[in-house]
């Protein structure tokens, strides 16, 4: 799918030359070790760099150039995967063959260069007003999680169940750490990112791999760097309180459960966990959906998800505030069924069919291709859908039951309306 060209040690360009899309997508990903402090600093950094630069010193000036380039989208974001924190610069621009103008791609690459290498600085630091405004923007973004009670409940649960574990470090960091970041510290973080982070560059569209590689080699000057050493400090400690209930002004009850599995992304049995998740609560044919929603009419949403990097399985359900106990009981009963191997041929077949569909479908978008390739790069050099499909096909019902038996419930978290209001 992708052709890889090495530019320096730790710096690679991966290009998928295809006419499938009317646009060209490029992503530059900077990878570093995950910590709350890093995540906080790098989130501010992503905001500061996409705000303006030396040549386009205001937000408006930069955005006007992008509008002129046929509304090229350019944004930076912060994400995490396992022990890694990733800052990405993403652009999507229209392939000029659909336009009455040529040379759009070169202009876009030049803009990417400016964003990364010519930041908006004064006296050797980032322009103070931009720094302060964007620091505040990241703080506000973290605070806004509270308004989305599902996200808030999930964050509360992982904070309580797995403090200081990478699973509970948000990609945007924390308010406390964001507040501590100084302009000097941010500049230091910027230099680290440009000079010593592992860099993966992706391009998808009707473009020659050499063209992208040459441009980046000639202008970006990325030097050799070491791949960050993976820190395997992912041990899970038993949470001190296995059940926590909290209250906010709200109508629905949000039930979140966390299970631990010894199987992670790097494990041979990883495909088994994907199937287990599908049968248990991943789809509309799953045991949780069919029993809790369709049979009991207790929930609109109830599902499980498998966080493969950490070996965690989560169950989420939106239920009446008074029905926590009943819901937990029903959810655990469904898990028991899986453990006993009570999986029908239909459930088993449907799950394989939908996993396959989801994967092939995701590859019909340029972003999907980049994300999947980037994720599986450490397992296989040239990812093709069959890499997973053939492994799913080898999994048996017994394998799924065995994987389910290894799940241990770590925490049940319930967020609901204040008790006095439940009966109102």
């Amino acid at each position: 799918m992708f052709e890889t060209i090495r530019l320096a040690k730790g710096v690679n360009v991966h290009v998928n030359e295809t006419t499938q899309f009317k646009t060209i997508n490029i992503s530059i990903k900077f990878k570093d070790k995950l910590s709350k402090e890093k995540a906080s600093a790098r989130s501010i950094l992503a905001n500061v760099l996409q705000h303006s630069n030396e040549v386009y010193p205001s937000h408006t000036a930069l955005r006007m150039v992008l509008d002129d380039l046929y509304g090229t989208s350019l944004y930076m974001d912060s994400s995490k995967r396992g022990n890694e924190h990733i800052v990405s610069l993403n652009v999507e621009t229209v392939n000029d063959q659909y336009l009455s103008e040529e040379g759009v791609l070169e202009k876009v690459l030049n803009l990417m260069y400016l964003v990364l290498f010519k930041p908006n600085t004064e006296h050797g630091l980032f322009k103070e007003s931009v720094f302060l405004r964007e620091k505040n923007a990241v703080k506000e973004r973290i605070e806004s999680i509270f308004d989305d009670k599902t996200r808030y409940a999930q964050q509360r649960m992982v904070d309580l169940a797995l403090p200081e574990h990478p699973a509970s470090i948000p990609a945007n960091g924390s308010i406390e750490e964001v507040e501590k970041i100084t302009n000097e510290k941010l500049m230091e973080e910027y230099r680290t990112m440009i000079e010593s982070n592992e860099v993966e560059i992706y391009a998808v569209g009707d473009v020659k791999p050499e063209l992208i590689a040459d441009y980046i080699r000639d202008y970006f000057h990325f030097t050799d760097r070491e791949k960050p050493v993976a820190v395997p400090s992912m041990e899970l400690k038993k949470p001190s309180q296995p059940r926590v209930a909290e209250f906010e002004d709200m109508k629905q009850g949000k039930l979140h459960m966390a299970f631990f599995s010894p199987v992670t992304f790097r494990d041979e049995k990883f495909p088994v966990m994907q199937l287990l998740n599908g049968v248990f609560g991943g789809y509309a044919h799953s045991k949780l959906f069919v029993n809790i929603r369709e049979k009991e009419s207790m929930a609109y949403y109830v599902s499980s998800s498998y966080s493969s990097q950490f070996g965690l399985m989560f169950v989420l359900a939106g239920i009446d505030g008074k029905l926590e106990e009943k819901a937990v009981k029903l959810i655990l009963e469904q898990l028991e069924e899986v453990k006993k191997g009570n999986i029908t041929d239909v459930e088993f077949g449907q799950t394989k069919a939908l996993l396959t569909n989801q994967l092939t479908e995701a590859l019909d978008s340029a972003r999907g291709q980049i994300d999947i390739y980037d994720q599986y790069m450490e397992l296989t050099e040239d990812f093709e859908p069959d890499y997973l499909i053939s492994r799913w096909n080898k999994v048996t019902k017994e394998d799924i039951a065995d994987a389910a038996k290894q799940l241990s419930l770590e925490m049940t978290y319930f967020l609901s309306g204040k008790e006095s209001e439940i009966d109102a």
Binding site: K22, R141, S144, D147, H285
Partner: protein, 434 residues
């Protein structure tokens, strides 16, 4: 079968209107593995007052019924239709909006089987009192979930403020109380009136062979009998031009206040080319006034009046529409005043010229070409355009014809003070942020 080539876009669209009135569109996409299909009826939450098929007197149905009907279409005597799609490796879904109910799937294999399933399950209703009762618990949880989402409450709150009589002011899912009144008989009445093929569009896009697909759809439809095509009589109340409520506040559990300013458009009966031109011109005008390169945005962002949640949108349907601008903000009053001030200034002295228009036009054309990478966007938007007498593929040629005066004219219909309203959500007082 008609074949229309859009050379500039490198797309070919196949179309046929079948004898039973169903409009079928097929758009093959080169290089795609998946096929995405939507089967949509021109029937949404606003269609709550109508003359049922075969009758003379108009009736009013309980709030939330179109959405309830959408849920119940998936349940059949032999079981849940999701299961059928899953077996065939397809991900199925559905949604109900103010004006449409769409059933859809995406699949990378067994496309023919999945298309048959899609057509058959939507064309074979099965409602019983028992299954209807059972669904009430599920939908009540869905409504409760939305009740807890401040962004949905904000969006819906501003629409309620703007509209006095039009049913767009009724929540799409209804309320926990209103859905209790829904019966299987209601569902059949609505189904028989609005799910006739002549009120529906099938759109298939992706890895699809147009000839084979059209043949399959025709054969499927030929096997079934349908009643004659009849005009549907929908009744909408008179709606004044001025907004129903100028200002309103809701308290709920949020970390920071939220505010929306809404503006009700003056002409809401546009259709076809006229609608397309107005819609695009108004979008360009709002983009210039409130977009990320506007003076307003720059000023409001630097002053900390808006944050990353800031948004603006212009939306128009037959009979209603709205422009909505707002953000999470520590200063809702100041922000709303500034938005209104910006509108007033533009009314007094139109600030944009040819260069501004050209820049925004390029931006819009780029956005449109990007969107054509998405089968979901194409199918959903094309259907919306068709129901309003417009063609999605006219967007670029229409954009190219728009002049500065069109922007000003479109904006003049969506700007008067009496058409503006403000809705805000504030944290409970005890939790007021400093």
């Amino acid at each position: 079968m008609h074949k229309v080539e859009f050379e500039q876009l490198d797309e070919t669209l196949y179309h046929e209107k079948l004898e039973n009135g169903l409009e079928v569109f097929i758009l093959p996409k080169k290089g795609f593995s998946k096929t995405f299909a939507t089967f949509t009826t021109k029937y949404g939450s606003i269609d709550n007052h109508f003359v049922p098929r075969g009758e003379k007197e108009a009736i009013k149905v309980p709030d939330g019924i179109a959405h309830f009907l959408e849920h119940k279409m998936f349940e059949k005597e032999e079981g849940d239709i999701f299961q059928q799609f899953s077996k065939q490796g397809a991900s199925a879904n559905a949604y109900t909006s103010f004006t449409r109910t769409a059933y859809l799937f995406s699949a990378t294999g067994q496309v023919n089987e999945n298309i048959e399933t899609l057509l058959d399950f939507v064309q074979e209703p099965y409602f019983t009192e028992q299954t209807v009762e059972k669904e009430k618990g599920i939908i009540a949880q869905e409504i409760t979930m939305y009740d807890d989402q401040p962004d949905w409450r904000l969006y819906f709150g501003i629409i309620e403020n703007m509209y006095k009589n039009h049913p767009v002011n009724i929540d799409i899912a209804g309320t926990v109380d209103s859905i209790q009144d829904i019966t299987a008989e209601h569902l059949y009445t609505c189904y028989n009136t609005f799910y006739h093929p002549s009120n529906m569009v099938l759109f298939v896009v992706g890895a699809v062979d147009p000839e084979g697909m059209m043949k399959l759809v025709k054969e499927n439809q030929d096997r079934k009998t349908f009643e004659d095509v009849e005009e549907i009589e929908r009744i909408f109340p008179e709606e004044p031009l001025e907004v129903a409520i100028k200002e309103r506040v809701l308290n709920m559990s949020v970390q920071k206040p939220k505010v929306f300013v809404g503006i009700k458009p003056e002409k809401m009966d546009l259709q076809g080319e006229e609608m397309l031109k107005h819609e695009l011109a108004a979008e360009l005008a709002f983009e210039l006034l409130f977009g990320r390169t506007s003076d307003f945005y720059h000023h409001a962002y630097e002053k900390n009046w808006i944050d990353e949640s800031y948004s603006f949108d212009y939306s128009l349907e037959n009979g209603f529409g709205y422009a909505i601008i707002g953000s999470d903000t520590a200063e809702p009053e100041t922000l709303a005043a500034e938005i209104k001030h910006t509108i007033a200034n533009a009314v007094e002295k139109w600030p944009f010229g040819q260069a501004d228009l050209d820049r925004m036009r390029r931006k819009k054309i780029g956005f449109f070409l990007r969107a054509l990478n998405s089968p979901e966007y194409i199918a959903n938007q094309f259907t919306r355009y068709t129901f309003n007498g417009m063609n999605l593929f006219d967007v670029v040629p229409t954009l190219e014809q728009i002049e500065v005066a069109d922007l000003q004219k479109a904006f003049s219909l969506v700007s008067a003070e009496s058409q503006q309203s403000m809705f805000s959500i504030l944290p409970p007082e005890k939790k007021e942020v400093q």
